[in-house]
Amino acid sequence: MIISLLSLQSVQKTYKRKTVLHELSLDVNKGESIALLGKNGSGKSTLLKIMAGVMPPSSGKVTACRPDLVIGYVPERFPKALRFTPEEYLMYMGTFQQIPKTALNRIITDLLERFSIKHARSKRIETFSKGMVQKVAIMQALLTKPDLLILDEPLSGLDLKTQHELLDIIQDLQKQGLTAILTFHESDLLAQAADRLIVMKEGIVQSDMLLSQLDKPQIEAAVTSMELSVLQSWPGVHRSAENYGVVTFYANLEDSDQILLRILEHGGSICSVNQLNPIRKLISTAYANSDEKAGDTIENTD
């Protein structure tokens, strides 16, 4: 059964007479991991801020499934120059949330261990690396054990190791049933982090689809010295054709290594191999517009 945690109905946001979100309606369902894609100024961050309660919409309604729905929010640019240690900062934020002191101490110790920054618990955040600062940003959002976690560019500007480390943590949380919505640029990691994709353009939802609806990544290859009929008989090969002695075919990415190896074993020559990744294509389409329309972006919105 699909349970909607948060429902947005005809949400509109206007900054200084410029409309950033146009009558946007959206449901965030329990257990989903939503990746929000779109160029700068498309309204992604504004949408997340409205969902998190950082700012109210100019018009429209945001309805939570229950009044005590807990939302954790990780902003795009978490302040690097925080003058507190992670322990102090989390202690203050937890106290503001009225978490009892004993429980709060336990939560903070667990978080510091889980995010592997226990060694830096008494160092000021302003001395931390970007990856460590981002960990504190996520930790503050997890203090209240949220039902919905909103992350605005959580992996942006981080090295690959930290990206994977944070992604593992996010995936662990998702496995525990946490609903998440995040903005993303990293196409290679998208499939691991999301099961639903929403592409935004100029304040509206351009497309909203499940990742499972997209085709699997494929290869498109051209080979010579190879019989078309032989190739067609192999499992995993599809949409093959022969033209002037060059055989072209498509195959699922996961089978491609085996098929290409088999071609070489049969004396065939591989002329070209192209990887066709629908997710990457979708992301490049979503962000390609940003170059064309860069002049249209609205400052301070994303």
Binding site: G53, V54, A81, M93, F96, Q140
Partner: protein
């Protein structure tokens, strides 16, 4: 009911502690505090001093320095940190109330220093009673609060450009001191606008004219007026700041 109130007080205390903790590590207080200390120490560099003249001067200093402290304390947290703090606190009004109270606490400490320092160093040639000390202390605090109440409207919450904010504040602060001469100088309907300025000059005049014995209506009225001004400004500020966020 009592438990809820105690809980709210404890929460407010934690919020103030957080704001002061962050502000203390920002070192933004150094410039206004240094100026305050230097001016107080220099003004008492020779003795004896006239009691009320000296206290009227330091009270006015409190007005300016508290306004500066307010601007710098409000700007201490970067915008995103502020958004998160408000999100965790769950209430915009409480956040700003804690900010105003935090500035008030610093102001109270400065008031205590400005009143007690000349007493313990024997800077006056006339006897000082407890009644005078208490009244002058309240007067200093009130001047500090007047400065804070006014400065709150010139913080980044209302005026984005720091130069415009600081410049505008300084203009109003200076304009509010010579109220009587400005009132006489400006033409009749225009000079009525001066009543919106903080009632600084009335309070100073009342203090100057005090016989240091009885606390009558002539003395109390300007002080009550100033206290009402502070309360009204705070209510307007907290209402407007909630609407702006």
């Amino acid at each position: 009911m009592q438990t809820v109130t105690r809980k709210q007080v404890t929460l407010l205390r934690t919020r103030i502690k957080y704001i002061l903790h962050d502000y203390s590590r920002s070192y933004r207080y150094l410039a206004p505090l240094t100026l305050f200390l230097i001016v107080v120490l220099v003004s008492y560099s020779s003795k004896p001093n006239f009691l009320m003249d000296s206290y009227a001067f330091t009270a006015l200093l409190m007005y300016f320095v508290s306004a500066w402290l307010c601007i710098s304390l409000f700007a201490a947290e970067p915008e995103i940190q502020k958004q998160l703090t408000i999100l965790h606190m769950g209430n915009v009004k409480t956040y700003y109330l804690a900010k105003v109270l935090s500035t008030g606490i610093i102001s109270l400490a400065l008031a205590c220093f400005a009143v007690i320092f000349p007493l313990v160093s024997g800077m006056f040639h006339e006897p000082v009673t407890w009644k005078i000390v208490l009244f002058v202390l309240l007067n200093h605090l009130l001047f500090g609060l007047l400065g804070i109440s006014l400065a709150a409207f010139f913080t980044k919450e209302f005026i984005k450009s720091p130069i415009n904010g600081f410049g505008g504040l300084l203009f109003i602060l200076i304009a509010s001191v010579p109220f009587e001469s400005l009132y006489a100088m400006l033409p009749s309907p225009v000079n009525q606008l001066l009543w919106v300025l903080p009632p600084v000059s009335h309070t100073i005049s009342a203090l100057d004219a005090w016989d240091r014995q009885s606390i009558g209506i002539n003395l109390l009225l300007p002080f009550l007026g100033a206290a009402a001004y502070v309360a009204a400004m705070q209510i307007i500020f907290l209402t407007l700041v909630k609407k702006r966020r």
